[in-house]
C-alpha cells in the first residue's frame, strides 16, 4: 500500500548552492594566480548561503506540514515525533533539499554539517578542472551538478542561492546559473510567501529599485535570497548521527561528463588582472588647544587627508 502511495507522490526537489568562504578578515590572495588561497586560515559557510539553506528547509517543513493536515493519515500516527531532517515523506508529497557546492575537497566537512542541520544530501564538485573559474564557468559546473541531481532524484523544482558570496561580492552566480539552465529567476528575495507544487508556482517578495515587489514565478525556478531573512537552524544530535554515516557525493569533471574547455580557468570569459587587499588605516589624533587653535589643526588635518 505504501508503495502505491509513494508512486502517486508529487516530487518537490530543491537544490541549495553553497560556498565555503574565508572566515572574517582572513582572506589571502595568491600573488601569482590573483585568486583566493582557499586552504589558508579557517573557513565558514557563506553567510548568505546559510539563509538559502534555511529557506529551503522551511519550505520543506511547510509543504510536509500542509500535506499532513490536508490529507487524513492512512495509518495511525506514530507516537514519536517525526524526524524533521529526513526527506519529508508526508502523504502526497516527497520533498528533498540537496546542498550543492563547488570547491576544494575540505568543503566536504561543511556539507556534512549541512546534513546535520537537515539537508537530505550533499554534493561536492571538486576537480582541478574546475579551478580558477570565473562566475560563468562556475555556473556551468553548478548546472552540471544540478543535472546530476535531476538524474538521480527527478526534476528539480526550485534552486535557492544566497544573494552573493562575501568573498567575491559579484551576486552573479545565481542569475548565471538560472540562465545556463534556462530557468526563470528572482534575485534578492526577502520572503518566500507561497510555494505551490501542485500548480507549479511560487510567490516571493523581493527587493525592487524602490521598495519591495511581490512576484509570482513559474516553477522550476531559481531564487537568490537576501541577508537576515531567517536564522539557520542548528544541527540536532540525530542530524549529527545521520551526517556521520552519510557520505557526501564527491564528483569530478569526468563524472559530470563535462567538457573541460568550458570549465575552470580555461572556460572563463573573464580573467583577473590584478588583485589587492585594500589597506584600512584608522588613526586617532587628539586635538587640543583654544577653540581657534583646534580649528586650525582640524583644517590642517583635513587638508593633509584630501591632499
Amino acid at each position: 500500500m505504501s508503495m502505491t502511495r509513494t508512486a502517486e507522490k508529487k516530487m518537490f526537489n530543491m537544490v541549495v548552492c553553497v560556498k565555503q568562504v574565508p572566515a572574517g578578515a582572513q582572506a589571502k590572495l595568491d600573488p601569482v594566480t590573483k585568486t583566493l588561497i582557499r586552504s589558508a586560515g579557517s573557513s565558514i559557510l557563506n553567510p548568505y548561503d546559510a539563509f538559502a539553506v534555511e529557506a529551503a528547509l522551511q519550505i520543506r517543513d511547510r509543504l510536509a506540514a500542509a500535506a499532513e493536515t490536508s490529507e487524513a493519515p492512512a495509518a495511525p500516527q506514530a507516537a514519536e515525533a517525526p524526524a524533521p531532517a529526513q526527506t519529508a515523506e508526508a502523504p502526497g508529497i516527497s520533498c528533498s533539499v540537496t546542498a550543492l557546492s563547488m570547491g576544494v575537497p575540505s568543503v566536504e566537512k561543511m556539507l556534512k554539517d549541512l546534513i546535520a542541520r537537515g539537508v537530505d544530501e550533499g554534493i561536492l564538485l571538486t576537480d582541478r578542472a574546475f579551478a580558477g573559474a570565473d562566475t560563468i564557468a562556475t555556473s556551468r559546473s553548478l548546472s552540471l551538478g544540478v543535472r546530476q541531481i535531476e538524474y538521480r532524484r527527478g526534476s528539480v523544482s526550485l534552486i535557492i542561492c544566497g544573494h552573493m558570496a562575501v568573498d567575491g561580492d559579484t551576486a552573479q552566480i545565481g542569475p548565471e546559473l538560472a540562465e545556463t539552465l534556462k530557468l526563470p529567476h528572482v534575485s534578492n528575495v526577502l520572503k518566500i510567501v507561497e510555494v505551490d507544487p501542485e500548480n507549479s508556482f511560487a510567490v516571493v517578495e523581493c527587493i525592487a529599485a524602490e521598495g519591495k515587489q511581490t512576484l509570482r514565478v513559474q516553477l522550476p525556478a531559481l531564487i537568490t535570497v537576501s541577508k537576515d531573512i531567517n536564522v539557520l537552524r542548528l544541527p540536532s544530535i540525530s542530524g549529527i548521527r545521520r551526517a556521520e554515516h552519510q557520505d557526501v557525493r564527491v564528483l569530478g569533471a569526468a563524472e559530470l561528463n563535462a567538457d573541460p574547455a568550458i570549465l575552470g580557468k580555461r572556460g572563463s570569459a573573464t580573467q583577473v588582472v590584478r588583485t589587492f587587499t585594500p589597506d584600512f588605516e584608522a588613526k586617532a589624533e587628539r586635538v587640543t588647544g583654544t577653540p581657534k587653535e583646534v580649528a586650525v589643526k582640524i583644517r590642517d588635518i583635513i587638508g593633509r587627508l584630501i591632499g
Binding site: V231, S236, S238
Partner: protein, 530 residues
C-alpha cells in the same frame, strides 16, 4: 552639598541589584599606596568606607549607606606573568581589570606588557607560543571586575567543571584599614586547626579564630570560608570586601580545551529535566556547564523573538518545549565530543526527550548563538521588570541564589514550585541545575508581590539550610542577603565571623552593612574595646 554629590555621582550609589544608597565622598585611587592612604585616612577617622568596582554585583555589596566610596576603577593594569609550581601560567593583575578584557587579551595573546620585569616578559614569551590559555570562572556579567569576582567568590555556569573563583586565586595583596598591606600566596600560610595567624608587610601579626561552622557540600558563596588548616588566601576570597581592599590578584590560567561544543535539549516538563540532570551527571565527565531554563523563561524568550527586533536572531524554540537544558562540553578532540554527545542523546531519549529537538553548537557562530540565548533570558526578565517599574518604581526582580547538595534537587524544586504557586507569584527560573543551583526569579507585578517574594526567600533560606545547602551560591551576601546568613550559620556563627573581621579591620569601618547587621558590628566593637 549632599544633593550636589548625589547628582554628580549617582551612578556610584547603586549596583545591578537596583539597590540605591547615599554617600558623602568618593575617591578613585590609582595605586596601592593611594588605596592605603584613603583607608587609613577615612577608617582611621571613623568614617565608613564602601569599596566598589564595576558595580555589577547583585547583592548591594558595593552600595554605600553613608561615608566614603573607594572606587577601584583606576586600578586596571596588568602587572606581569609567572609560572606556577605545576607549570601553569599565572597572571598578575590589579583588581579593576574586567573579566571580558582578560578574556579578549588571552584569546588574542596580546597583553599590555609595558613596564613588566624581565622574568615576567620571559614567561609572557612562553605564553605567546603555548597553546591558548583561558580563565575558567565565568560569571554571566563579563564586565565585572576580577577584584569583585574574587570578593564574592563568583563562579558562573562553568563552575560545574572548574569550580568557583577561589581556587584560581594563587596570590593576593590586601590593603588593610590601618594602611598596612597583607600579601598572601597560596600554599605559604595555613591555619592551625581554626587558628589563623598572618603577618602584614609592616610586621604586624593578625591573629584570628576562624568560625567553627562547617561549609556546606555544595556551591557556596555565603560568608567567610572556614575549614581546619585552611589556606589564608581562601578566607580573603569571598569575604565580600569586609577584611580589606584587594589591590593585586595573581590568577591561575588553564589551557583552553581544544573542542568546546554546546548542546541544548528540550523537555515537555520539569520533572523530566530533573531526571535528565541526575542521570547525566555520573555519565558525562567533560561537561563544563549544565544549565536550565524553565517554561516561563522560554516563554519570555519566545515573546522577545516575536516582538523585539534585537532578539530576532534567537533560534526558534521547538513547539511544545516546556523547558530546556544546555550542556557545554569541553573536550580534547572532536571524537571525544561526539562520543559524549551521543551519550547525552541516549540519556535524553531515556528520559523521554527527542534527539531531533536538540541544538548542537559545534562552531563559534553557533556557540555564540547559544550564549546569546542564555544571556537573553536574564536580560529579558530585567526588561520586563523595568517596564513594571514604570508604574511602581519600588519593585525589583527578586532572584534567588541558593544551592543544595546532590540528591536534594527534586525536593527543593518541588518546594519552590509549591510555595510560589501558593503565594500566586509569577516566576521565571533558570540557572545552574548541574550544581543544584537554580535562580528562581520572582517577577513582582506590584509592591504586594514584592513583599510576598521577599518573605518567601526568607522561608527558602530556612529550607535550604535544613537540606544542608547554601543561602548564597555565587552572588555573595552583600547587604541584601545578610539576613539569610544568620539563618545558615546562626547567631554564634555570625559572631565568630564578626570577630574575624575585627581582627583584620579593628576600625570596623570597612564595607559596613555587608554580611553583618550594624548592631553586631557595634557589639563586636564594644567587646574588643572592653
Amino acid at each position: 552639598m549632599k544633593d550636589n554629590f548625589r547628582d554628580t555621582y549617582r551612578q556610584y550609589l547603586k549596583d545591578e541589584s537596583r539597590t540605591e544608597g547615599y554617600a558623602d565622598s568618593i575617591s578613585f585611587p590609582k595605586s596601592e599606596t593611594e588605596v592605603s592612604e584613603d583607608l587609613k585616612n577615612y577608617c582611621g577617622r571613623g568614617i565608613p568606607v564602601t569599596v566598589q568596582g564595576a558595580r555589577t554585583g547583585l547583592t548591594g555589596g558595593c552600595v554605600p549607606f553613608g561615608g566614603h566610596i573607594l572606587n577601584t576603577s583606576g586600578l586596571d593594569r596588568f602587572l606581569g606573568m609567572e609560572l606556577d609550581d605545576d607549570g601553569s601560567f599565572l597572571i598578575r593583575v590589579q583588581p579593576a581589570v574586567p573579566l571580558s578584557r582578560l578574556r579578549t587579551l588571552l584569546t588574542e595573546k596580546s597583553l599590555p606588557a609595558e613596564g613588566w620585569s624581565q622574568e615576567s616578559l620571559a614567561v609572557y614569551e612562553q605564553f605567546r607560543t603555548a597553546p591558548e590559555q583561558f580563565f575558567p570562572p565565568d560569571p554571566t556579567e563579563s564586565s565585572a571586575f576580577l577584584g569583585g569576582i574574587a570578593a564574592c567568590n563568583a563562579s558562573g555556569s562553568r563552575s560545574y567543571l572548574y569550580g568557583p573563583m577561589r581556587p584560581y586565586v594563587r596570590a593576593l595583596r590586601l590593603a588593610l584599614t590601618d594602611g598596612d598591606i597583607l600579601s598572601l600566596r597560596r600554599g605559604e600560610c595555613f591555619a592551625d586547626g581554626r587558628k589563623l595567624s598572618v603577618r602584614t608587610e609592616s610586621g604586624r601579626t593578625i591573629e584570628a579564630e576562624l568560625p567553627s561552622y562547617h561549609m556546606p557540600s555544595c556551591k557556596n558563596a555565603s560568608g567567610y570560608y572556614a575549614a581546619d588548616n585552611m589556606d589564608a588566601v581562601d578566607l580573603i576570597v569571598g569575604s565580600d570586601g569586609t577584611l580589606g581592599v584587594l589591590t593585586e590578584l595573581t590568577l591561575k590560567l588553564v589551557p583552553k580545551p581544544k573542542v568546546i561544543w554546546g548542546v541544548s535539549v528540550f523537555f515537555k516538563d520539569e520533572p523530566m529535566a530533573i531526571r535528565f540532570t541526575e542521570a547525566l551527571r555520573p555519565q558525562v565527565r567533560n561537561a563544563a556547564a549544565i544549565e536550565y531554563f524553565d517554561g516561563n523563561a522560554l516563554g519570555i524568550l519566545r515573546n522577545q523573538k516575536a516582538n523585539n527586533a534585537a532578539f530576532s536572531s534567537l533560534p526558534v524554540i521547538p513547539d511544545g518545549a516546556g523547558c530546556c537544558i544546555y550542556t557545554e562540553l569541553h573536550c580534547g578532540s572532536e571524537e571525544e565530543a561526539s562520543g559524549t554527545l551521543y551519550r547525552i542523546g541516549e540519556v535524553l531519549t531515556g528520559c523521554g526527550g527527542s534527539e531531533d529537538e536538540t541544538w548542537v553548537a559545534r562552531d563559534e557562530k553557533d556557540r555564540n548563538l547559544l550564549i546569546f540565548f542564555r544571556h537573553a533570558v536574564p536580560e529579558s526578565a530585567n526588561m520586563l521588570i523595568d517596564v513594571r517599574r514604570q508604574s511602581d518604581p519600588s519593585i525589583t526582580k527578586l532572584g534567588s541564589d541558593m544551592s543544595v547538595p546532590d540528591g536534594k534537587l527534586s525536593e527543593i524544586v518541588r518546594m519552590y514550585r509549591e510555595t510560589t504557586a501558593e503565594a500566586g507569584l509569577e516566576t521565571a527560573t533558570w540557572g545552574h541545575i548541574g550544581s543544584n543551583h537554580l535562580h528562581v526569579n520572582i517577577l513582582p507585578a506590584d509592591q504586594e508581590d514584592y513583599k510576598k517574594g521577599k518573605a518567601l526567600f526568607a522561608r527558602w533560606a530556612e529550607t535550604v539550610t535544613s537540606l544542608g545547602g547554601a543561602v548564597s551560591a555565587e552572588h555573595g551576601v552583600g547587604k541584601i542577603k545578610r539576613g539569610f546568613l544568620e539563618t545558615m550559620y546562626g547567631k554564634e556563627g555570625l559572631r565568630e565571623m564578626a570577630a574575624v573581621k575585627a581582627a583584620f579591620d579593628p576600625s570596623l569601618m570597612l564595607a559596613r552593612g555587608n554580611l553583618f547587621p550594624e548592631e553586631l558590628l557595634d557589639e563586636t566593637g564594644k567587646g574588643a574595646r572592653a
